[in-house]
């Protein structure tokens, strides 16, 4: 028998409130925490005058107890109370905050409302996707208490080097909701677990999940004009609870086990060698503007949490009604607490910050050179090994790609990369020089931090899918209910000769080639490549470039495409494997142009003639040769002209020979090869590049690679 330890002397009640035994609680940690004999509640508000804890039993409409915090339970602006004898599993809670209601001064206290705890680890009220909260209830969203005793089996964040990342951006629901996904629990964390073998085979090393914090998918009032169906807030960039995994993304959400289910997803991805990055939305909340619902922050301390004009209205730098007051000291602490929680409790490997420029705005909206919040996150010990990626712009006009205050810690979604690659592929003139800069990790933008600061992408959830980028000249967003006015107009897309679906074989062949061109440029560029889930299989949104509101076939990954477009999937798998096989493509330094100890310069530029790049504004041809000190050599040529041309190849030393890894002009399966089995080029001095094509060669020893033609 183990020795029984003496009971703590503070583990006894001192007060009796509303029929429950309580005592002054611990201030830290904030939120509701299981303690021996009960639950500790801690909540703060600098401007509230009084606070009441409201307790519910699961399944009962009204509260079973309301406990005003006695004065001696408050330290500064923090109210803390331990309540004994309540069952953490069946107890739900909220707060009433009293204080001034003077909107012109920014205060909107209303003690008649029951508020969600900003630190709630579990949120009840929307456990089933697509079912709105019960607004007839006095308090439809209730905070819950999460157990933190998950069995991690020794798991820890993977800590992969940034240069080894291949990011795969996915929506939890959309990834497995389609019937063709054929998983046991469609549209959930558990469903995603069933698809891990697919991800592993594809070769991606990081899954970036679109918002998984609790949000309200039913807060969209628009309807689809053709079907009359109610539209959703499907993407979820509208946070209700920052500490709570979305209940309806968990098959076990109805049992309150979403925390466990999400942790299991992370554990299983880690077992497969795949990191987990979360898309986090700290720029605004689901409470909207003056007319929006009061859920939590507005009632708890409106003036602190939101950026307000001098007469108390909401600034709208996010384009969604309100703007979180990120650089207020209280909010900085809140954001830090939240990220620390996800990093430590969920073993998350990194964060992508939605509209991150708002994190760099002052309380009056100015853009700060040294934003305290960003600095805090950059230097935090808990987050030290987390990848931090900024979407370095906002809806208020800040565009900081290359100038986000990074503290040598933040990487960025490289919007310039996306635009340049798209324009080059389309055949625009005058972008060849810029393409060269993008292919080597954008040294013009990330000189100090190296290529890994650049998250390269051609498509993201926001905009066309890759299939649609090569199938539509214009966006087709009528189904979004805004008369096709929403969504970006600058898509730099080209439909290859017919708008949308066609059976013209030439158009289809060109589209197939253009998709391969994009993948090949992306996966041979220095930096961190990011792919959108489904692009590898030719997923379409039918020309919709802003599908945030569609919980239907437009958004869901149709897994039949994996079979139908298996040649494209194979191509992408090979291209990822090729990247993994070649350190020349995963360098942490920008090229210098010097030869150093290698055979060739780290990166050299070529054109139709070797060592002679064509930088003129009329050039549509570019070739790069990357070479490491250890002799890994990769040659990438891109031709966006509608005619092919002959390329003179750099002459290799005697013991080496050029081998072809990929040629997008060649029909499948000759368009790519498994790394290690690339055929040797018969003519070592020149090669033909086809119209609108990308070629990738590698130098192997004369005997080592060549199992193909000789």
């Amino acid at each position: 028998m183990s020795r029984t330890l003496p009971q703590r002397i503070d583990a006894y009640p001192t007060h009796w409130i509303a029929g429950l035994s309580v005592r002054s609680g611990r201030l830290m940690p904030f939120g509701a925490t299981e303690v021996p004999g009960g639950v500790n509640f801690s909540v703060y508000s600098n401007n509230a005058t009084a606070m009441t804890l409201v307790l519910f039993r699961r399944g009962e409409r009204g509260p079973f107890a309301e406990l005003p915090f006695p004065a001696e339970f408050r330290i500064g602006g923090v109210y803390a109370m331990t309540v004994f004898g309540i069952d953490p599993e069946t107890t739900q809670y909220g707060y009433r905050a009293d204080g001034p209601f003077r909107p012109e001064e920014g205060h909107r206290f209303d003690a008649t409302r029951i508020l969600v705890d900003p630190y709630a680890k579990v949120l009840n009220g929307q456990e089933i996707w697509g079912v709105p909260v019960d607004r007839d209830q006095e308090f439809p969203r209730r905070s819950g208490i999460a157990p933190d005793d998950f069995d991690w089996e020794g798991d820890r964040p993977l800590g992969l080097p940034e240069e080894d990342l291949v990011v795969y951006e996915a929506h939890v629901r959309g990834f497995t909701r389609h019937p063709s996904a054929a998983v046991g629990a469609p549209g959930t964390f558990a469903g995603l677990v069933e698809k891990i073998p697919y991800l592993k085979e594809l070769g991606v090393t990081c899954v970036e999940l679109m918002p998984v914090f609790e949000f309200d998918e039913m807060d969209n009032v628009r309807v689809d004009p053709t079907t009359g169906d109610r539209l959703h807030n499907y993407w979820g960039y509208s946070t209700v609870g920052f500490f709570a995994p979305k209940a309806s993304f968990a098959a076990t959400g109805r049992h309150g086990m979403q925390v466990d289910e999400f942790k299991n997803l992370v554990k299983e991805l880690h077992k497969a060698g795949i990191e987990v990055m979360l898309d986090v939305v700290f720029n605004h909340t689901a409470e909207g503007n003056e007319l929006g619902p009061t859920i939590s922050f507005r009632g708890l301390d409106n003036r602190v949490y939101y950026m307000l004009t001098s007469d108390g209205y909401y600034y709208n730098f996010s384009g969604t009604g309100n703007t979180v007051n990120c650089n207020h000291p209280v909010v900085r602490g809140f954001v830090l607490d939240c990220l620390r929680y996800w990093a430590s409790e969920f073993h998350v490997d990194g964060f992508r910050f939605d509209l991150a420029s708002i994190l760099g705005r002052a309380q009056d909206g100015r853009s700060l050179m040294e934003p305290p919040l960003v600095e805090t996150l950059a230097g935090d010990p808990v987050l030290r090994d987390c990848k931090l990626i900024a979407e370095a712009w906002d809806a208020g006009g800040l565009y900081q790609v290359g100038s986000f205050p990074d503290y040598c810690r933040f990487g960025e979604w490289n919007g310039r990369y996306r635009d340049t690659v798209r324009r080059f592929l389309r055949g625009d003139l005058g972008v060849t020089g810029d393409l060269a800069t993008r292919m080597v990790g954008s040294p013009d933008l990330y000189h100090r931090r190296g290529p890994v600061a650049s998250v390269n992408f051609v498509t993201a959830h926001d905009g066309f899918t890759l299939h649609d980028l090569v199938s539509y000249d214009d966006k087709h967003n009528d189904g979004n209910g805004e008369g096709n006015r929403d969504g970006d107009n600058a898509n730099h897309s080209w439909n290859c000769g017919a708008e949308g679906p066609t059976d013209d074989p030439e158009v289809l062949a060109l589209r197939g080639r253009q998709q391969r061109n994009a993948f090949l440029l992306l996966l041979t560029s220095l930096g961190i490549p990011m792919i959108v889930a489904g692009d590898e299989a030719g997923r379409t949104q039918q020309g919709n470039n802003n599908a945030y509101c569609h919980d239907d076939e437009i958004s869901w990954f149709d897994w039949d495409l994996v079979d139908r477009n298996s040649d494209l999937v194979r191509f992408v798998r090979n291209a990822i494997a090729f990247r993994k096989a070649h350190p020349a493509l995963r360098r942490r330094e920008h090229p210098t142009g010097h030869t150093g100890e290698g055979i060739f310069p780290d990166t050299s530029w070529h054109g139709a003639h070797a060592w002679t790049p064509e930088w003129s504004g009329y050039s549509r041809l570019l070739a790069a040769m990357h070479c490491t000190r250890d002799g890994d050599i990769v040659y990438v040529a891109a031709n966006s002209h509608w005619e092919g041309c002959d390329l003179e190849l750099p002459e290799l030393p005697e013991h080496l020979a050029w081998h072809v890894f990929a040629d997008t002009a060649a029909p499948s399966p000759g368009d790519s090869h498994e790394p290690g089995s690339e055929p040797r080029l018969a003519d070592q001095s020149s090669i033909r590049i086809g119209p609108r094509s990308v070629l990738v060669l590698t130098a192997g020893t004369r005997s080592s690679i060549s199992r193909g033609e000789d």
């Binding site: 028998m1 183990s2 069952d87 953490p88 599993e89 069946t90 157990p147 005793d149 069995d151 089996e153 046991g184 629990a185 959930t188 558990a190 677990v193 968990a250 098959a251 076990t252 049992h255 309150g256 086990m257 466990d260 289910e261 942790k263 299991n264 554990k267 299983e268």
Partner: protein, 106 residues
């Protein structure tokens, strides 16, 4: 509803029959029982759960506790898990900690 747990030991195999509701109120009873069993040499822990009327998430965690307490060398077998409970165990990944079996008529 009340909760009862009866345990028998036979050559390193401990069998516990669980009856009633296993939730956060009754879980400590089972946890204590498991802690006691851990003092004995055990190679297999069999939990007969077909007479459980209700198994909550706290009850589920109790089974994981058994797994952690007894170590990887001990098989933990759940006999007679209801389908919806089995599903929850599977979706949250707890199925890696336990072996689930159908009840055998004897």
């Amino acid at each position: 509803m009340s909760f009862r747990a009866k345990s028998t030991t036979d050559d390193g195999v401990v069998t516990i029959r669980l009856i009633g509701d296993l939730d956060s109120r009754s879980a400590p009873v089972l946890n204590e029982l498991i802690a006691e069993i851990d003092a004995q040499p055990v190679r297999r822990l069999v939990l007969l759960v077909d007479e459980l009327a209700y198994l909550s998430s706290a009850g589920l965690r109790c089974l994981v506790f058994a797994h952690q307490k007894m170590g990887r060398g001990v098989d933990i077998v759940l006999v007679g898990v209801r389908p919806e409970v089995a599903e929850t165990i599977r979706l949250t990944g707890f199925d890696r900690s336990v072996i689930m079996q159908d009840p055998v008529e004897t």
